[in-house]
């Protein structure tokens, strides 16, 4: 059995590893932004590893989501049971058929930020009568940040879909719908 201390140590190391990975990748990106074409192969290579990298990022976010569901639901078993299903349904609907690894990651982000907004709103609503003015301001700021994160997540997903996915054209032949790239 892993001790709490061991868990914390692993979490810290995981964060460090992800942080280093992200910093390295940001370095490639900055050079690519400045027109350094030599960085493109490294950038593409890292993008090819997207599924593994995405898992490293999504797992901690899912853990946070699980904790939020527990807090959000409290003793309500119905919410405890239905909320993960609602979130999974959202994931499926947003991802659509055959999502790319990048889309999957962006969908995960949209769902996580959406639920975070719900969670912070409910937390604020539950405690609003007991909060001091500074505490209330703190909650408001947190909520504003969560809203911004969610809007940004939606915008990026839409942008990536629009620019990186070939447009689908719908053709109906003999009452059968055929989707083709155009």
């Amino acid at each position: 059995m892993v001790s709490k201390k061991g868990e914390r140590k692993a979490a810290v190391e995981g964060t460090k590893e992800r942080g280093e990975m992200l910093e390295e990748f940001k370095g490639y990106l900055e050079r690519a932004k400045k027109g350094d074409k030599e960085m493109l192969p490294a950038l593409r290579e890292t993008l090819d590893q997207m599924p593994q990298l995405a898992r490293k990022l999504v797992d901690p976010a899912k853990q946070a989501e699980y904790s939020m569901i527990k807090n959000y639901a409290g003793d309500d078993l119905l919410v405890t049971e239905t909320m993960p299903r609602t979130l999974n349904l959202m994931r499926e609907e947003l991802a659509g058929p055959n999502p790319s690894p990048l889309e999957e990651l962006l969908v995960e982000r949209v769902v996580a930020t959406w639920f975070q907004v719900q969670y912070f709103e409910s937390l604020y609503a539950q405690n609003i009568r007991n909060l001091t003015i500074p505490q209330s301001e703190y909650h408001q700021k947190r909520l504003d940040r969560a809203h911004k994160r969610h809007l940004s997540a939606v915008r990026t997903l839409a942008q990536v879909r629009k620019l990186l996915k070939p447009a689908l054209a719908q053709i109906n032949i003999a009452d059968k719908q055929i989707n083709t790239t155009g």
Partner: protein
């Protein structure tokens, strides 16, 4: 909040508070009145400390829940930008994404 020894030897309970930016000492009383005020203040202080501790823990808990999602947001934004650059797009004046000419 403190007990102050008077010139005649008795103890007097006092409270210090800020009034218009100046520290003002309020003389509450001696004997049982002072004792009662001291106990009330000590209880209030304890309550304040407990509330501050609870609020600090609540903030830490929320920050711990926020951090992995912030990390996910930051990383996925970087990946999305990288994918767009790799596909030949660039950001025009930090705004819309445009395809580079001749690609």
């Amino acid at each position: 909040m403190a007990w102050e020894r008077r010139e005649r030897g008795g103890l007097y309970y006092t409270r210090s508070r800020k009034l218009d930016g100046r520290v003002v000492r309020e003389y509450v009383g001696s004997g049982s009145v002072g004792e009662l005020a001291a106990q009330t203040d000590a209880l209030e202080r304890l309550q304040c400390e407990e509330e501050a501790k609870a609020w600090k823990e609540e903030r830490e808990r929320m920050e711990a829940l926020e951090a992995p999602i912030e990390e996910l947001c930051e990383a996925s934004e970087v990946f999305a930008q990288a994918a767009l650059y790799a596909a030949g797009y660039h950001r025009h004046n930090r705004g819309e994404w445009r395809k580079r000419r001749g690609k």
